[in-house]
């Protein structure tokens, strides 16, 4: 029974101890790290396929229809068929496109997301009296590393839109530059509250500090974080960067073949990464009663993604100026209130006992209600469009 819970820890200890006498400690650790990276990369890509399938089937059931169910039993080979189709398509580069940046943009979108997986703790195990965390590298600055690395993907969006030499793509890229950069601010500030409660930036220590999951201890932070993550992932209601009905897929409209496959993959990979981050930061990571730790994390990740799909099925899209107003005028003050309240609680009750959870929930609901009431006059502007002297469109 213990073997199932600690299988990965036992394997790790076995490999390192087995290789140390022959190769030396440093090389053995390097081999172990390589094996871990290999496993995590593969797990990430396989989970992307699961996510794509899950999104299409669950979205279909929300819309009283069946999703894809022809390819393979129950349609589970559909993402594989999609991948094969994308790979065998012709790679078209527009004649007037900036070739270097055009070719570089998909790579730059994909790499930062893969780097996030290095710090996510997938579980925990005990082998030979020692606790092993199932993450590739248990950095002390874990969450700071994640936030820094994901910001690199934004420049790639701008590169893709600009180099396509297409006005629709440029529209999408300009909107992206505004949206993705604006939502970094509430994202980071929501994490600060969590860090104050946990007392450390390391992801493993944040999980261990969650006797009460932080969704109850930091409800306001959770709401802000999940909204900001929706915007960072370009998911509805913030998917105006690839608004199909307006911009015909926005910044990646000129990409075809595997380059488009990179964008597609990076989108779902970052959904997986951020769902993992949310589960780690707010839902208690790998902790749970009966099942092994890695299974619990998987269940939580799937649940968070289900909430994303649910929101996508229901809500319409927000306009770009409303998106910016939401980030700067609604989420930012809420995040600052959250930090203030958490800091005061940290001074008075440094160990954060459990009764602070209902207190924080009440404060969170009141703050959201007050800000929404104040924000409503900002959100529904009564502005009239400027009566411009029409410049003729011409021939």
């Amino acid at each position: 029974m213990d073997i199932i819970y600690n299988i990965f820890a036992i394997l790790e200890k076995g490999i390192v101890d087995g290789l140390t006498p022959s190769l030396g400690a440093a090389v053995a650790l390097a081999v172990m790290a390589f094996i871990k990276v290999f496993l995590v990369a593969n797990v990430g890509l396989i989970m992307v396929m699961v996510f794509i399938y899950m999104e299409r089937r669950v979205l279909g059931r929300f819309q009283v229809r069946i999703g894809p169910n022809r390819v393979g039993p129950g349609g589970i080979l559909q993402p594989l068929a999609d991948a094969v189709k994308i790979m065998i398509k012709e790679d078209i580069v527009p004649k007037a496109a900036d070739r270097l940046i055009f070719n570089l943009a998909p790579v730059m979108v994909f790499v930062p997301v893969m780097l996030v997986f290095a710090v996510i703790p997938f579980g925990v195990g005990v082998a030979g009296g020692q606790k092993y965390y199932m993450s590739v590298a248990d950095l002390d600055i874990g969450i700071l590393y994640v936030l820094a690395v994901t910001s690199l993907g934004e420049i790639a969006v701008l590169m893709a839109g600009w180099s396509s030499n297409n006005k629709f793509a440029l529209f999408g890229a300009m909107r992206a530059a505004a949206q993705l950069v604006s939502y970094e601010v509430p994202l980071v500030l929501a994490v600060v509250g969590v860090v104050i409660v946990a007392g450390s930036l390391s992801l493993t220590k944040i999980v261990e500090a969650q006797a009460v999951p932080f969704i109850f201890m930091q409800p306001l932070g959770f709401v802000i974080f999940i909204t900001a993550v929706s915007a960072e992932l370009n998911r509805t209601p913030f998917d105006l960067l690839e608004a199909e009905s307006e911009l015909v897929t926005g910044y990646h409209v000129e990409y075809s073949g595997m380059k488009f496959g990179m964008f597609y993959l990076a989108e779902y990979l970052s959904a997986f990464a951020f769902s993992a981050i949310i589960s780690t930061l707010f839902l208690g990571g790998w902790q749970g009663p009966i099942l092994p730790s890695y299974v619990w994390l998987l269940i939580k990740i799937l649940f968070v993604f289900f909430v994303f799909i649910w929101v996508r099925a229901t809500l319409p899209r927000v306009r770009i100026d409303q998106v910016m107003a939401l980030a700067w005028k609604f989420l930012l003050p809420l995040a600052l209130i959250n930090i203030g309240v958490t800091a005061v609680e940290a001074l008075l009750w440094p160990t954060f006992p459990w009764f602070l959870a209902p207190v924080n929930i009440v404060i969170g609901v009141l703050a959201v209600w007050a800000m929404a009431a104040a924000f409503r006059s900002v959100w529904e502007p009564q502005w009239k469009p400027a009566r411009l002297a029409a410049t003729p469109v011409g021939g």
Partner: protein, 368 residues
Amino acid sequence: MALKSQPIIVNIGPQHPSTHGVFRLRVAFDGEVVQDVEPIFGYLHRGSEKLAEERTYTQIVTLTDRLDYLASMTNNQAYVLAVEKLAGIEPPERAKYVRVLIAELMRIASHLMATGFFINDIGAFATPLMYCFREREKILDMFEMCCGARITYNYMRVGGVSHDLPEEFYPALRSFMAEMPARIDEYEELLTENEILVARTKNVGVISPEKAINCSISGPVLRASGVKWDLRKADPYEVYDQMQFDIPTGAAGDCYDRYKVRIEEMRQSLRIVRQCMDRMPSGPVLARAPSLVRAPVGAEAYGHIESPKGELGFYLVSDGGISPYRCKIRSPSYINLTALRDMLLGWKLADLIVIFGSIDINMGEVDR
């Protein structure tokens, strides 16, 4: 120092997911703000008015099916009313009730489609669209029981309708009427108070009542601006003068009011359908008219109805033969489109799509 800038000219081309057909819009943008708009249409022109001069009056019904192809029954009704005025044929009572019943069901189907696609353009990825289409399927199944087809019906004839309602129509209609009010309430629950929808559509694309009347706009767009004008009450045709229903109007003339007006019109259509069902007399459904209809030389007639998109009218001139001399179609989408430029200037790209979706244009009608 003011920056010297040049507007970007973007071609929201004939092939676009939200232009509701083949419609081309050349827009000059300054950033995201619309500066000028040039609509270019004609991609679906099939020469319906010229073809009508070579077909007999009964064969033209098949041409009118294809004008507003999403609401074919009301096209048929408008044309058939014009011919009956021209040739002096009076349909029997039961035919009039059947026509009103079918036309109101068609209005519900058309408004369902308009609402579904409007919300789809705003961004709610197809979910309300799928719900609306589920109900539209039931209406189309009922029409299939009547006349055998689902989109181009060819159902109404000069002097009545071609077939009587079959036996299986009545239970289907009863079950539809039983569940439809709950479904409309469900759409309202999903959409009407949704803050994002309100923020996207309130005060967007406003057109004042004076401007709407000056531009000859008709239909839900006119009623949303506050003008209480509905041809079913202003110039009643068939048996609408004996039906009791209200005309929903809006106050502000923005996209949100147009959406609300369509939802309310669906409810009023259900009322009319119920009254038709209760009061339908028995009798023949087709008047005894010659199959090759002729009208006196030089006779002219204009028959118009309140179609789901606005006032649809047919102007027919006869030269005594089996075909009309001239058939002119006054299509509501074409006339509503002339006010597009005024509605769009000064708004952003995202609003452009929303406003265009809320006017509910059908390119088959615009291009004929």
